[in-house]
């Protein structure tokens, strides 16, 4: 099958470091941490008291007051990043067929803040106190629906839910939908707003989060020997995927090309990865095959790199399985060292970081790398950004449940 080519023509992001793409990228290059003590709620009884929160945020700066109470925070973030991506792509200034323009987003959890608020109302005042907006605010597909309403996008529209891999599955699905001919343009990526007492408490109960509460900026240390868990983050990162001919016809700015996607399932455990890394390797190999490239052509791996003891060790093993000796020449980095783990939004910001690396010839660091771990002995771009020419980048995202997903991006050439 002769595949249609898909390029990226718009980017948008909001996260703990910044409320737009350019500032996010500058801070990632500087190695700035967005992690600090949680301010949204009382953390006295929680083991982890730190997160990469979005600070100085007032929804009224972005939305009509009437809309604010109808949108969960995760949908607000999606709309903000979506607006930046749409404006960046200049697509609204061109003519397009709205029935060929879709939205596919990832959300790992969805409107959990709304869920908590309404559950509290029910426990206090009974079921008649539940807001009629509860269900439409909370469901994890509503952000994609809201964007279609905002811009009149009448094409394919759905949400992928694979925990921390959600945005990668969304982008992979968007790639396939355009390749197959179901749409010409898709607004895609991921969104999450789960820095809430219930969600943080739940991850604490799993012992999944870092408890380095006395030194938040040093808490997230992917691949470092002293890593002790991930840090909750929040935000959204959206991209405009567009069929090449469609983009060229309107003279769109092109950030890069999406050339492959691979998926697999560990079939092993609800939260723990297979220690050999074979599930992740299988997904990386499927992605490289889909892109039609050899492992040695990859210049950058945007790792899942969560800073949990098990993930970083297993992911390193997986990279070695797939790349062999070449694994030691790869540059590997983790946005999570600075942005925390934005769960369903994570793969979106990672794709943007890969595209920015292609455009600038700079690769952002993995910060807080101090103590080498014999199980993690690859080049993780420790602490300082480097100059590095990137033609092909892959982005790994692995979700609880054993969902492995790998996206392959390429610098655009005619």
């Amino acid at each position: 099958m002769n595949k249609r080519r898909i390029v990226i023509t718009g980017l948008g992001a909001i996260n703990a470091l910044a409320k737009n793409v350019d500032e996010t990228w500058e801070k990632l290059l500087q190695g700035e941490s967005g992690i600090s003590h949680i301010t949204k709620f009382d953390t006295t009884d929680l083991t982890s008291k730190i997160a990469a929160e979005i600070k100085d945020y007032d929804p009224v700066d972005y939305f009509d007051r009437k809309l604010v109470k109808k949108l969960d925070l995760y949908t607000q973030y999606a709309c903000i990043a979506g607006k930046e991506a749409m404006e960046d792509s200049m697509i609204l200034k061109s003519s397009f067929d709205p029935t060929r323009f879709g939205v596919i987003l990832g959300a790992g959890i969805g409107g959990i803040m709304t869920f908590e608020e309404e559950a509290n109302k029910m426990f206090k005042g009974g079921p008649r106190r539940i807001s009629p907006f509860f269900i439409p605010k909370m469901i994890s597909n509503i952000a994609a629906a809201q964007l279609s309403i905002d811009y009149g996008l009448k094409g394919v529209n759905y949400t992928t839910v694979t925990a921390c891999a959600s945005a990668n599955h969304a982008m992979g699905s968007a790639l396939r939908a355009i390749q197959y001919g179901d749409a010409d343009i898709i607004l895609t990526g991921g969104c999450e707003a789960a820095v809430t007492p219930l969600a943080v408490g739940g991850f604490c109960a799993m012992r999944a989060l870092s408890v380095r509460n006395d030194d938040p900026q040093k808490a997230c240390r992917p691949f470092d020997k002293e890593r002790d868990g991930f840090i909750m983050g929040e935000g959204a990162a959206l991209l405009v995927f567009e069929e090449l001919g469609h983009a060229l016809k309107r003279n769109a700015k092109i950030y890069g090309e999406v050339v492959g996607f691979g998926m697999s399932s560990d079939a092993h455990h609800i939260t723990a990865p297979v220690e050999t890394g074979e599930g992740t390797s299988q997904a990386m190999e499927a992605a490289l095959k889909d892109a039609g490239i050899k492992p040695e052509q990859v210049d950058l791996v945007s790792a899942h790199g969560t800073s949990t003891p098990l993930n970083d060790k297993t992911e390193t093993a997986a990279i070695k399985n797939t790349f062999g000796e070449y694994a030691y020449k790869l540059k590997i980095n983790s946005t999570k060292s600075m942005l925390g783990h934005t769960l369903g939004a994570a793969a979106g910001i990672e794709a943007i970081a890969c595209l920015k690396a292609m455009a600038t010839g700079k690769v952002h660091p993995t910060i807080n790398y101090e103590f080498p771990d014999p199980d993690c002995d690859l080049n993780y771009v420790p602490n300082k950004a480097i100059e590095h020419d990137v033609e092909y980048a892959i982005s790994n995202s692995l979700g609880f449940g054993g969902h492995n997903s790998v996206l392959v991006l390429k610098r655009y050439e005619q």
């Binding site: 009509d64 007051r65 009437k66 008649r128 106190r129 807001s131 009629p132 907006f133 439409p136």
Partner: protein, 77 residues
Amino acid sequence: MDIFSKVKEIIVNELSVDEGEVTLEARFIEDLGADSLDTAELIMKFEEDFDLSIPDDEAEKLRSVGDAVNYLTSRLN
């Protein structure tokens, strides 16, 4: 505070409309831009703030500010 003033205050907050728009004749959906979910929430707010329960078959008849004021007045007297 009289019932109309209190109803007006609730509607201004819930529907994010200007106080001047909230006349006795104003209808929630046609004039004040509410949808079916907004009106359901408005009824809940009346129940909460006036400390009473409004049965669904009666709630359905409250389509304007005047309907609500008259209904609440009759219930509270």
